[in-house]
Every structure is written in structure tokens, then in C-alpha cells.
């Protein structure tokens, strides 16, 4: 790529503290003072658009933060640890929703990660050329299916399937029913259903990032391992995956971000009960589905503020998770370029 020159040739202006002319420009870039009126207007307008992104993020943070403040003032940190959610009594604690969000996301990642890595490795290393495009297209298509369609499928296919076959199989045939994780009656709408549907939904995100990262691993890395006599799997396990590790972890965390914030499909299958249950067969709640269910019918200001506080928590968590993921992925692609 023509990294150094392509952008800066037309770079019209010097922001304070930024050198206006990059090396290799051939003197084409001119300082702001010498630029014509048109150039100046153009530069200012694209800068304004660019500032729109941070501005939007700030607006979101401020709006939600301000609206959430009354609830945090009223309940303090117990908002995050209490399980009581009683709009009539005016008591709000988001612990079950936070618990449900975390648990459903963990289930999703546990299921989706190996599958997504398998897909990515297959597509980047093993698949014959004619199979690559169609399979990649199908997996990408998984990300294009609207959340509400997954929810619909969850209600009418996944849940009956879980209730009739999977849950009895896990509890009785495998004898897991004695462990707290798989005990209790099999209602259908449950944490397990939410985790499964989330797994399907985050899989394309993880596998897309993983594939990208694997393709960024230099050829020489593979060739060296093969020259040492490694089989193709040993090459991947010993030379390719370690090189791509932090990028893949970034992809997984990116998937985590998706799972944490996914709303509709989860709302439709998780059962929406504000309670912490140890069993994965029991219904639960997530932060996003709590907001989705109650927001438009919040009864009073404190209730609304409590929902905003749930939104603020969700915002903060996904912000951190996404920033971490992006940083990890960015580090790998930078190393690959260097």
C-alpha cells in the first residue's frame, strides 16, 4: 500500500501540532494559509463530520449518565448488587439482569469460540478455493439475519427443541440433572436458550475477525514450520495460532461485546424473570431485555432512571469491552504491517 503518500498528497491543512507535510509528498501538500477558499471550506466541513463521531459518543454518554444519576444517587452501589426490582415500592436492583447478561454471554462464547475458530481455520488454511467464497458468504449471512428473526426462530423452533429433547437429554440421560447447573423443570425459555441463540449470532463476528487475523499472518511463518517437517495442523497450532493469538482474543472479546448488548432475540427466549437462578434451565433476564421490556411503560421517574442506570451500566461495560477488543486487533494488524 502507498501508506505514506496517498492520503497526505491532498492533505490540505495543518492542524495545530501536526506537521503539515509528510515526507515523500513531493511538496504537493500546501499549508492552510496558502490554500484556496474552497479547500479551506472543504477541509473544515470534513473535519466537522469527523468530529461528529466523538460528539455522538459524548452525547450518548452524557445523556444516559445524566438520566441515570437519580437512580445511582438513590441506591448507590447496591443498585448493582440488589435483586429487588419493584416498581410499585420504588426499589430497584439490577443484579439479576447483570448476572443474566454475563452468564448468557459466557454460554455463547463457550459454544461459539471453538466453532468460529474452526470455521476461520478451515476457510483460511484448509478449504479448497472453490469452497472458500460460498462458505464465507453463508457465515457472513448469519450476521445479516435480523435479531428479531432469530428470536422468532428461537420461540418456535429452538425452545420446543430444548424442552422436548435437549433438556431431558442433558438432565436425565447424561445425569447432569443432579448438578445445580442443569437442575429443575425444563420450561423452555431459559438462560440456556438465550446462550445458544447468542452463540449463533456472535459466531460470524468472531470467525470474521479470526479469519482476517489468520490471513494477516505472514506466509513465511507457515513456510518455516512446514520446512521443519510439521504437518499442516502442527503448522497452524505451533506457528500460526500463537502469532495470531492476541488478534483472535480481540475477535472473541468483540463477540462478547455483541453478546452483551444483543436485545431482541434474547428478550424473546430468555423468559424475562428478574431472579438469579443457578440452573441454566431457569428463565432469567439481561440488561438489554430489561430495558426493552420496561422502557416504554416505565411507571414513574425513578423507574425510568433505574432503567437508564441499567443502560448506563451496559454502555460502560460494552465501551470497555469494545475498546479492549479493538486495541488487541489493532495491535496484531500493526505488527503484521511492520
Amino acid at each position: 500500500m502507498a501508506e505514506a503518500s496517498a492520503g497526505s498528497v491532498v492533505a490540505p491543512a495543518a492542524a495545530p501540532g501536526v506537521p503539515p507535510v509528510a515526507p515523500g509528498d513531493g511538496g504537493l501538500a500546501v499549508r492552510m494559509e496558502d490554500a484556496g477558499v474552497g479547500d479551506r471550506i472543504y477541509h473544515v466541513s470534513i473535519t466537522v463530520f469527523a468530529l461528529g463521531v466523538p460528539l455522538l459518543l459524548c452525547c450518548i454518554a452524557v445523556a444516559i449518565g445524566a438520566a441515570a444519576a437519580p437512580a445511582f444517587r438513590a441506591f448507590g452501589l447496591s443498585f448493582l448488587t440488589s435483586s429487588r426490582w419493584d416498581a410499585v415500592a420504588g426499589e430497584f436492583g439490577a443484579a439479576p439482569a447483570i448476572y443474566g447478561t454475563v452468564v448468557s454471554s459466557i454460554i455463547a462464547l463457550v459454544i461459539a469460540t471453538p466453532l468460529a475458530l474452526g470455521v476461520a481455520i478451515f476457510l483460511s488454511e484448509f478449504a479448497p478455493a472453490w469452497l472458500r467464497q460460498p462458505v464465507a458468504f453463508l457465515v457472513d449471512l448469519l450476521a445479516a439475519v435480523p435479531s428479531v428473526v432469530y428470536g422468532l426462530w428461537g420461540i418456535f423452533v429452538l425452545i420446543p427443541l430444548l424442552r422436548e429433547y435437549v433438556m431431558p437429554f442433558l438432565a436425565e440421560d447424561l445425569g447432569l440433572g443432579r448438578t445445580p447447573l442443569f437442575s429443575g423443570p425444563a420450561y423452555g425459555p431459559s438462560m440456556l436458550a438465550a446462550g445458544l441463540i447468542l452463540a449463533i449470532m456472535v459466531l460470524p463476528y468472531i470467525s470474521a475477525v479470526a479469519r482476517e487475523v489468520l490471513l494477516a499472518v505472514p506466509r513465511s511463518q507457515r513456510e518455516a514450520a512446514m520446512a521443519l517437517g510439521a504437518t499442516r495442523w502442527e503448522t497452524i497450532w505451533g506457528a500460526v495460532l500463537p502469532y495470531a493469538r492476541s488478534g483472535i482474543v480481540g475477535g472473541i472479546i468483540l463477540g462478547l461485546g455483541r453478546a452483551l448488548g444483543e436485545t431482541m432475540a434474547v428478550t424473546m427466549v430468555i423468559g424475562n424473570r428478574h431472579e438469579i437462578a443457578s440452573s441454566l434451565f431457569a428463565p432469567g433476564y439481561t440488561m438489554a431485555s430489561l430495558i426493552a421490556n420496561e422502557f416504554s411503560e416505565a411507571t414513574n421517574d425513578l423507574h425510568l432512571s433505574a432503567l437508564m442506570a441499567v443502560g448506563a451500566t451496559l454502555f460502560a461495560v460494552t465501551l470497555v469491552v469494545n475498546a479492549l477488543a479493538r486495541w488487541l486487533v489493532w495491535r496484531v494488524s500493526r505488527e503484521a504491517r511492520a
Binding site: 448469519l142 435480523p146 428473526v149 512446514m226 426493552a292
Partner: protein, 309 residues
């Protein structure tokens, strides 16, 4: 690609000593085991690919089976009807979704394309780095959070739900998608083109708009369509912004029906009739999303070959 695995180390055939023979045997068994492991893992990754694509095929099959039964011409032209009354449709929701997409594009495309141009043209600056990072972070924001944002700025002050609020929420979701995709497309434009334009005496803004942006246009159209396809199916941010509407409404200041909202309402209802309608709605929604996605591919293929995989 290279042939799988490595050839077993050749050992001398003539007069092997005891140690050599033992070594050769051990090598042969390890090599055998290593090849088995290799086979198994290759098969497993193939199985993963198979399993990953199964849910999609499963869903598509079911949609066609369940949805096709309920799709009649009147589904597109009639209004929703109460339970027990045959012949209901989703005309208002289909139009509502199109209006919401229109508003979202009006909000998201200019900002996204502008910001993307900035990122590509001024890529080394500190602001560009920050904006690039933040737009990636914004891209990962749960869509319901953007719904809360639109509610706070457009529903609370006005005192009622509106199509405008829903459209703005969707537009905000489009911004980071369009920004990053535009940047990629503009970066693909060959430097020689810019230099030629500048050498001919074009000012820099004209070079950027009339040459660079013009060249990257098919790619940007693709990006825009991909973003539209993504927000067309969004439900969560519409729950308390566009809100949904059982009646015909095309006013941007009034609550408006949307296809995904209608599917949601029908899906969680207890009536079989409405479930059938939900399936039909899902077929139409997925069809819309897929048509837009396919259009997106065509837009890129048409010229210059920019932006392909």
C-alpha cells in the same frame, strides 16, 4: 498450497544398526500419529464450518415453509387486522420501515461519508486516529443504547414517540459503519489519480470530490447499502422511538409502524394467526435485507473492481 505434512525422515536402508532401526520405527509411529492428528483436526474444522452454516439453512428453510404459506398479495397491501379477521397485512409496517430507512440514510450517510473522507485524506493526524478508534467502539455499541440516546434527545423533549426519533437512532447506528467503509474505499483509489488531477490544476477539494470520491463511489454505494441492510432489521432501538403504529401513518412526527417491530409484537402474542403473520413478515424482512445485500455486491462489481474481497 504445499502438500500436506512432511515426508517421513528417510533412514538409510543398508545395514541399519539396532539403534537406527529403533529410531526409524519410532519415527514411523510418531509420523503416523501426527498424520492422524492432522487428519482429525482438518476434519474437525470442516465439521465446524458445516455446523456453523447449518442454523442459517435451517432458518431459511423454515422461513420459506412457514412464511410462504401466509404471504398473499394482500399481505403487502392490507393493514393489520384484529385476531379472527382474515386478510390482514403489513402495508403500514413495510412503508414505515422504508421511511425509517430513508430518515436513517439522511442522517447517517452524509456524516459517515464525510467522516470517512476525513479519515482517508488526513489519515496520519491524531484526530483521525481518535475518530477511527471511536467509530469502531461506537460500532460495537448495543443498538438499544442508541435507542435510549434518541429517546433522550427526541422523544422526551417532544413528549411523544416519532418516526424521526426512530430514524435518527438507526442513522446513528449507520454512522460508524459508513465511516469505516468509506475510508477503506477512498484509500483504495490509486495515488496516481490524485496526482494527475492535481497536476492538471485541480484544487484539492475538487480532486477529492470529483476524482477521488467519484472513483470510490461504487464502493461507497456498497458500504451504504450494507449499512442500510443492517439497520433495516433493527428492532431494539425502535421500541421506544418509532414505537410502532397499528394505523396508517407516514408522518415523521408521529409514531410509525416498522416491519421488525410488527414481527416482534406478533411473535410474542398468543395467537396462531398472528404467528403466521410474524413468519410472513420475517420472510419479507429477510428478503428485503438480502436484496439490499445482493445489490450491494453488484454496485461494487460494476466498475473499477474496487472493494471486492
Amino acid at each position: 498450497m504445499t502438500a500436506p505434512g512432511a515426508a517421513p525422515q528417510s533412514t538409510r536402508r543398508s545395514h541399519p544398526s539396532g539403534t537406527q532401526r529403533a529410531f526409524a520405527e519410532r519415527t514411523a509411529t510418531t509420523v503416523g500419529r501426527r498424520h492422524v492428528v492432522n487428519r482429525v483436526m482438518v476434519t474437525l474444522t470442516f465439521a465446524a464450518a458445516l455446523v456453523a452454516t447449518l442454523p442459517l439453512l435451517f432458518i431459511l428453510f423454515l422461513l420459506l415453509k412457514e412464511g410462504a404459506a401466509s404471504i398473499r398479495p394482500h399481505f403487502f397491501t392490507n393493514m393489520p387486522r384484529p385476531v379472527g379477521e382474515a386478510g390482514g397485512g403489513m402495508a403500514n409496517a413495510i412503508v414505515g420501515t422504508l421511511i425509517l430507512i430513508g430518515i436513517a440514510s439522511a442522517v447517517g450517510l452524509p456524516v459517515g461519508i464525510g467522516a470517512g473522507l476525513y479519515l482517508a485524506e488526513r489519515r496520519g493526524t491524531r484526530l483521525a486516529t481518535v475518530v477511527r478508534f471511536l467509530s469502531d467502539v461506537l460500532n460495537g455499541m448495543p443498538s438499544i443504547v442508541l435507542g435510549i440516546f434518541a429517546w433522550e434527545f427526541l422523544v422526551r423533549p417532544l413528549g411523544h414517540f416519532s418516526a424521526l426519533a426512530g430514524g435518527v437512532a438507526l442513522g446513528a447506528i449507520m454512522i460508524p459503519l459508513v465511516t469505516r467503509a468509506t475510508e477503506e474505499m477512498v484509500r483504495l483509489v490509486p495515488t496516481a489519480l490524485r496526482e494527475a488531477a492535481l497536476a492538471l490544476g485541480y484544487t484539492r477539494w475538487r480532486t477529492s470530490l470529483a476524482v477521488v470520491l467519484r472513483t470510490a463511489l461504487p464502493g461507497i454505494v456498497t458500504a451504504a447499502l450494507v449499512a442500510v441492510a443492517r439497520v433495516a432489521g433493527e428492532t431494539a432501538p425502535l421500541l421506544f422511538t418509532a414505537f410502532g403504529n397499528q394505523f396508517w401513518s407516514v408522518s415523521v412526527t408521529q409514531p410509525i409502524a416498522a416491519l421488525p417491530l410488527q414481527i416482534f409484537t406478533y411473535a410474542i402474542s398468543p395467537y396462531d394467526e398472528w404467528h403466521a403473520q410474524a413468519w410472513a413478515g420475517a420472510v419479507v424482512l429477510l428478503g428485503l435485507v438480502l436484496v439490499i445485500s445482493v445489490l450491494a455486491r453488484f454496485a461494487t462489481r460494476s466498475r473499477f473492481g474496487l472493494g471486492g474481497d
